[in-house]
Structures are given as structure tokens and as C-alpha cells.
């Protein structure tokens, strides 16, 4: 599916309808951070990424890895694509990028969402040829079984099949641990049946952290030309 046919793979900024320009403010801050920081790990995505930074687990497990967090709540694949093409990859050479986006693509089909995520993966691999990529699967959502769970699972299946072919990309699906045998998700894991609680972030972070350590060991650090 080419970008022209897939709206989820079309870069698009968020239009400020509310009136306080918050999305652009956040994007501009990330662009500025690219000028000042030398991250080894870059997290990019939606609120699932953004909220992680507000919990203790970020300070404990990911700050020590020199990680930057470029998550924005509400973002779709189109929004993340736009941000990465418009400054959020300038001047940085993270050794690993963690990508988590797709659950907010409400206007798009599972095929389109997967296509959008693949487009972002391709962009990252071409802009950062020495880096490794971790793509996190979309988590189930809603208290009970519902169409969005099926859609997110379908996206994950498509990604599982097509991501490895792109290059050094790992796909991790951590959704299984959240759905109980009766099909319900607990508010102890997702306080609004979408966003993770501190304890749920801890659960997924252990796996993610171990994988990051492993990949960082395998991936040499690129020195900026100015430092040599």
C-alpha cells in the first residue's frame, strides 16, 4: 500500500482546534531537545509512551539509559510521521528507537494502521542506518471484548509478519498479560481501560528494559563528528 493510498502513512500535524497550541509546543520542545541531548535510546509514540515518563519506572529504568521521550497523547501514525520528518530526528543518533503508536488511528482500518507503522519504521531505519528498532504491539483496550481489541490484534498480526523483513527490527507484543480468562481488563492495569497504571508499566518495562540492555550492548555508539 503506497503512501498515496494510505492516509495512515501520510504525515500530518495535529491542527490546534482547542486554542492553546499544545501539540506544536510539545513538538517544538522535542526539536529543541534534539539540539541539546545525545540520547542512546529514543521513545516515540502516543500517550502510552508519554505517560511512562511520569511514573517512577522511567527514572529507575530508562533515564539511566539516556533515553528521550517524544510521546504525545492522542497521536496517530500520521502525526508521529510528521514529527519525525520535521525535526525530531535532527542531530541525534540514538542506538535504539522504541516505537509505540497506532491505537489512536480511529479513522483507519487495521491494514492502514499497520501500513502507517511500517512507514514510520522505514523512515527510522533509513534516517538511522546504524540503529536498532523495537516496535511495541498495540495493547488490548476496553473493559470487555470489543471491536477495537480485534482491530489492534489484527494490526499486531500484520506487524509480526512484515516488520522483521525491514531490517534490525524487533516486534514485542505484551498485551497478553492484561486480558483475564473472562475476557475483562482490570482497572488495576488500565485505570481507564486504555492507559496503564504504574504497576502495569512496571510489568511491561521489565521485558523492555532487558531487551534494550541487550540491543545497546550489540549496537556500537556513534560519535558525533564534532567530538572526534
Amino acid at each position: 500500500m503506497s503512501a498515496e493510498e494510505n492516509p495512515a502513512a501520510e504525515p500530518a500535524p495535529v491542527i490546534d482546534v482547542q486554542g492553546d497550541g499544545r501539540w506544536m509546543s510539545q513538538h517544538n520542545r522535542f526539536v529543541q531537545e534534539c539540539k541539546d541531548a545525545e540520547p542512546d535510546v529514543l521513545f516515540v509514540g502516543d500517550s502510552m509512551v508519554q505517560l511512562m515518563q511520569q511514573y517512577e519506572v522511567w527514572r529507575e529504568l530508562f533515564s539511566p539509559l539516556h533515553a528521550l521521550n517524544f510521546g504525545i497523547g492522542g497521536d496517530t501514525t500520521s502525526n508521529v510521521l510528521w514529527r519525525l520528518q520535521n525535526g525530531e530526528l535532527e542531530n541525534i543518533r540514538p542506538r535504539v528507537v522504541v516505537l509505540w503508536v497506532g491505537t489512536n488511528n480511529h479513522e483507519h482500518t487495521a491494514d492502514q494502521v499497520a501500513g502507517g507503522i511500517l512507514a514510520i519504521a522505514q523512515l527510522l531505519l533509513s534516517r538511522l542506518p546504524k540503529s536498532k528498532l523495537i516496535v511495541l504491539g498495540l495493547l488490548p483496550r476496553g473493559e470487555f471484548p470489543n471491536p477495537l481489541r480485534e482491530k489492534n490484534a489484527a494490526v499486531n498480526n500484520l506487524l509480526r509478519a512484515s516488520l522483521p523483513q525491514l531490517g534490525p527490527v524487533q516486534f514485542i507484543d505484551m498485551g497478553g498479560s492484561f486480558v483475564h480468562s473472562d475476557g475483562t481488563i482490570s482497572s488495576r492495569d488500565m485505570f481507564d481501560f486504555l492507559h496503564l497504571t504504574a504497576s502495569a508499566y512496571r510489568t511491561i518495562s521489565t521485558t523492555l528494559h532487558e531487551l534494550l540492555l541487550q540491543l545497546l550492548e550489540e549496537t556500537p555508539q556513534e560519535r558525533r563528528a564534532s567530538l572526534v
Binding site: 482547542q18 511520569q54 483496550r141
Partner: protein
């Protein structure tokens, strides 16, 4: 302003556009929570209330007060109104209700938003005649000065004026000075220039905690 002409004061459930029924799941859980528990304090409102529950400050300051949290992200005044009219107050008798809502009322004027907040206060008073309602002021938002900051400040002025004449209502300004001298709000306080970081919650919750405690003390027989 009558309820009929003010959309912010017309009880309206949130429509499930996304398809996973999360808003109704939350409402149903709050109704069933209210059947089993006996809170002394009830927090009700939008994501600024909801997110408070997820950080350490809730466990430290508000759990000891036997507080329940009925916050739902994205809620505007008419959503909170619907929830309170449809079961969330039916089985509990908190002494203090903390109300924090209004920043999501996009498209409404400050007068309409104030009308929505007053409608909620009235419903609380009808259902819980012995409870005291503590209305929290809307925080500024956005990195730089913008119309929503002005709107929120206007709402606060209107609500504070109305609350002054009601003995069962108090108004608390929740802004400890988030706006810097250059007019900016820091992402260290609001990570997306709307939602509070844990450290900002610590700052705003100290006075809130004191206020609630003193209201509880006054309420004690």
C-alpha cells in the same frame, strides 16, 4: 441561565465513538464502587482528578481521608452532571465533595461553563444535603498565553462569586503560580501543558489536603 439553553448544564452522557465503551465502563464501575464503600471524601471531575489517583500523592494524602476518585478523562461539565444524576451519588454520603471540571468545555462561554459547574453543585446539594462541596479553580493551560487561559480565569471569577453566597460551597484556587514571569508554563509542571506532573500535583495538593481536612473537622459532630 436555564438548563435548557445551556449545553454545559444539560446532563449528557459521552457517546462511544471509538467503539470500546470505556466511558460507560468507568461510570458503571463508579456506581458499583459507591454501593460497597463509605467514603468521607469524593473527588469528581475530569482527567486532572482521574490522573491524581495514579500517583503516590493520592496514597499519601487522600487515601487516609477515605477518599473515592470518580474522575474521567475528557469529561466536560455536562458529562459529570449526567454521571452524578445517574447513580454515582446514590449510595454514598461523603462529607466533602471535591469538584474539578470545566477545562474540557470547548466551545462554551465562561458563563455557560460556570452555569454547568453551578448545576453540578445543585445536584450534589440535592442528593447530599449534608455535604460540603469544594470547587477547585481551573488551571491555566498551554505553554504561552492563549484564549483558553483567559476563558479559565473568567470561569474561576464567575464561580468564585457565585460560591461566595452559598454556605455549603467553597472555592479553592489551585494555581500555586504555574505561570512564569515570561508568561510560560513549564513542562516540568505540566508535561503536555495541560496535565500535571507528579511534582506539580505535590505542590497543588498540599493546600488542597489542608482545606479538605479543615472542612472534615468542621463537619465532625
Amino acid at each position: 441561565m436555564s438548563e435548557d439553553s445551556n449545553p454545559a448544564a444539560t446532563p449528557t452522557p459521552c457517546q462511544d465513538i471509538q467503539g470500546d465503551g470505556r466511558w460507560m465502563s468507568l461510570h458503571n464501575r463508579f456506581v458499583s464502587d459507591s454501593k460497597g464503600k463509605e467514603p468521607d471524601v469524593l473527588f469528581v471531575g475530569d482527567s486532572l482528578v482521574q490522573l491524581l489517583h495514579e500517583f503516590e500523592v493520592w496514597r499519601k494524602l487522600f487515601s487516609p481521608l477515605h477518599a473515592l476518585n470518580f474522575g474521567v478523562g475528557g469529561d466536560a461539565t455536562h458529562h459529570v452532571l449526567w454521571r452524578l444524576v445517574n447513580g454515582e451519588l446514590d449510595h454514598i454520603s461523603p462529607k466533602v465533595v471535591v469538584l474539578w471540571v470545566g477545562t474540557n468545555n470547548h466551545g462554551h462561554t465562561p458563563e455557560q461553563i460556570c452555569g454547568g459547574i453551578m448545576a453540578i453543585i445543585n445536584v450534589i446539594h440535592q442528593k447530599l444535603p449534608h455535604a460540603h462541596t469544594l470547587v477547585l479553580g481551573l488551571l491555566p493551560r498551554g505553554k504561552s498565553p492563549n484564549p483558553l487561559r483567559e476563558r479559565n480565569a473568567s470561569v474561576n471569577a464567575l464561580v468564585q462569586a457565585e460560591a461566595a453566597s452559598l454556605s455549603h460551597v467553597s472555592f479553592l484556587d489551585m494555581d500555586p503560580g504555574f505561570i512564569h514571569s515570561d508568561g510560560s508554563i513549564s513542562h516540568q509542571d505540566m508535561y503536555d501543558y495541560l496535565h500535571l506532573t507528579p511534582q506539580a500535583y505535590q505542590r497543588v495538593c498540599q493546600p488542597l489536603h489542608e482545606c479538605i481536612k479543615s472542612l472534615l473537622d468542621k463537619h465532625a459532630p
